[in-house]
């Protein structure tokens, strides 16, 4: 080995030992704001643009018309917007359920809190469905015994909220707030009978303390998002005409 070689070796060792000798001495952490003070990267912006335009074009395409504005606070025990949602889940959901099982849904129960926006007077677009139902919840059909359906009626009588139910159910409370009559398709609820109740997966899993879905005879997952139910329902109607009615009421005397 020449001196040159030794020097080279030393240099190599030096570089090596430097790396291995590095110690973490200081850490600095901070949070950086992303806001209008930061310029837009044009390449990224140009890349997003066609996606944005396509989404917006679809979201803003007119699919129906609302002659009035509908809000979930329009009624005490039932509202036009809630009735529309429950009836839409019945009409669209039953098509899928019937095709798969040959059976029919008896009625639908949703929750008042699940109506996330008003429907404004004017054109209805897919964006309306995204606003009313921003969550990904989807339709489930549960086979319940009449006894549990009666528990559900007791729950509704105590909750005293306009939890949406479909038009096949008629629930009347007396002036004390107890169930005075409860019928499905005009027939009183039969303790022994099995009912096919459609709802969403959130409530099925105990959301809003709706514990009456368990135990059950069977569960049918329709893989059909509530939002898509609404979009499909809107597309079939030139004009929406939801009404507050007598499906869930309380008597004054």
């Amino acid at each position: 080995m020449t001196i040159k070689h030794i020097l080279k070796l030393c240099l190599l060792l030096l570089i090596f030992s430097c790396n291995n000798d590095s110690h973490l001495t200081k850490i600095e952490g901070k949070r950086l704001d992303i806001d209008e003070n930061i310029a837009t990267n044009q390449t990224i912006e140009d890349f997003i643009k066609p996606y944005r335009e396509s989404v917006n074009k679809n979201l803003d395409s007119v699919i129906s018309y609302a002659p009035d504005t509908y809000s979930k606070s329009d009624g005490e025990l039932n509202t036009a917007i809630g009735n529309l949602m429950a009836d839409a889940v019945y009409d669209e959901g039953n098509i899928v359920f019937n095709k798969r099982t040959g059976k029919n849904i008896d009625f639908v129960l949703l929750n008042h809190g699940g109506i996330r926006a008003i429907i404004s007077k004017g054109n209805i677009t897919p964006r309306t469905a995204y606003e009313v139902m921003p969550f990904e919840n989807s339709v489930v059909v549960v086979a319940l015994k009449g006894e549990q359906v009666l528990q559900m009626m007791t729950y509704l009588s105590k909750a005293k909220r306009a939890h949406p139910v479909s038009r096949q159910l008629q629930l009347t409370l007396n002036k004390n707030g107890d169930v005075s009559s409860a019928t499905v398709n005009g027939e009183p609820i039969n303790k022994e009978k099995a009912y096919y109740v459609a709802s969403n997966d959130y409530l099925y899993n105990g959301g809003d303390r709706m514990t009456f879905f368990h135990p059950n005879d069977s569960l049918y997952v329709l893989d059909y998002k509530i939002r898509n139910v609404l979009i499909d329902y809107f597309k079939k109607k030139d004009t929406l005409n939801p009404k507050r009615d007598n499906r869930f009421i309380q008597l004054n005397n």
């Binding site: 110690h23 952490g29 992303i34 989404v55």
Partner: protein
């Protein structure tokens, strides 16, 4: 360990002898800086919030994040950009394109690594798998076992980066899926306990792989006030050792600055999370200096 130090010291001494006074000068020039940038729970928020938004008006936006990341990378090329999961779900972009745009944009921003959040299963594990060709970055998760799923071999427990000679080991952790995600969505994905896995990972990365930095990319949540014993980033920090930084997600916790927690060996661990929706970018700089002794509880921390 003792032996290695001895060898290092003796080789350094040899080098100094060989090169004379030159050595000291070149040492001081090798101080190093590693920058870790991170996001979490961006939830498909690609566009900035509109001017009328009640809470986040004019905030966020991927095109702005790109500008910020670019300028930081220019300042320090030894930068890693990480995401702690829940990339998907939250705007119609996800509903229309299934996550394609999110992954393409993250690739354009040159994300280095991400972990998987519960919402990344929202189109099912098949929906996540279908978008993988659009991601130029990799995914890590050490406690999800994907062996019996389509994601098998596409997610590694950890990844090691070497930046400017500094070895950075990053492992991923995911949240319990049962009760949070429909079984039809995550299918045969198996969830393993994050704490034990993290203890194992930090040992592998620190002792076997000799990493200079160990980072946990977590989607288990910062902490749960009502359930203080539930596994969380803070509990993880206390129950493990040799992790330098935990980057979290899931709980949408807007930390104004990183939290400093003591690990099981009494050393400092940094825990950070930047809320959600791409409103902020987290930035942690690690400074390395050669041959300098460090205090018993670790490096000095400025937050």
């Amino acid at each position: 360990m003792k032996r290695r130090q001895f060898i290092q010291q003796s080789t350094a001494a040899t080098a100094l002898v060989g090169l004379g006074g030159l050595g000291l000068q070149s040492f001081s020039a090798t101080a190093k800086k590693i920058t870790i940038l991170h996001t979490n729970d961006v939830h498909s928020h690609i566009d900035p919030f509109g001017p009328d938004d009640g809470r986040n008006a004019n905030k966020g936006g991927v095109a702005r994040r790109a500008t910020l990341v670019d300028s930081i990378r220019k300042e320090n090329p030894n930068t890693l950009l990480l995401d702690a999961g829940d990339i998907f779900q939250g705007t119609p972009y996800f509903n229309y394109y299934g996550g394609e745009l999110e992954f393409k944009l993250m690739s354009m921003l040159k994300y280095d690594l991400a972990t998987i959040g519960n919402h990344d299963f929202d189109n099912g594990i098949d929906g996540l798998y279908a978008q993988l060709p659009h991601a130029d970055f990799e995914f890590v998760s050490a406690n999800y076992d994907f062996s019996n799923t389509v994601m098998d071999t596409h997610v590694k427990p950890y990844k090691i980066f070497v930046k400017d000679g500094i070895k950075i080991g990053i492992f991923g952790l995911g949240i319990q899926l049962e009760g949070l995600v429909d079984k039809n969505m995550y299918k045969e994905t198996v969830y393993n306990s994050p704490i034990e896995i993290a203890q194992d990972m930090s040992r592998i990365l620190k002792e076997e792989q000799s990493c200079d930095l160990v980072i946990c990319l977590s989607h288990i949540g910062y902490n749960y006030k009502k359930y203080p014993d539930r596994v969380s980033d803070l509990n993880l920090a206390r129950a493990t050792k040799d992790i330098d930084l935990i980057i979290g997600g899931h709980t949408h916790t807007f930390l104004p600055k990183p939290t400093i927690e003591k690990n099981s060996a009494g050393k400092n661990v940094l825990v950070n999370q930047v809320g959600a929706y791409g409103l902020y970018l987290g930035k942690i700089d690690f400074y390395f200096e050669p041959g300098k002794d460090v205090k018993a509880d670790g490096a000095s921390i400025i937050v």
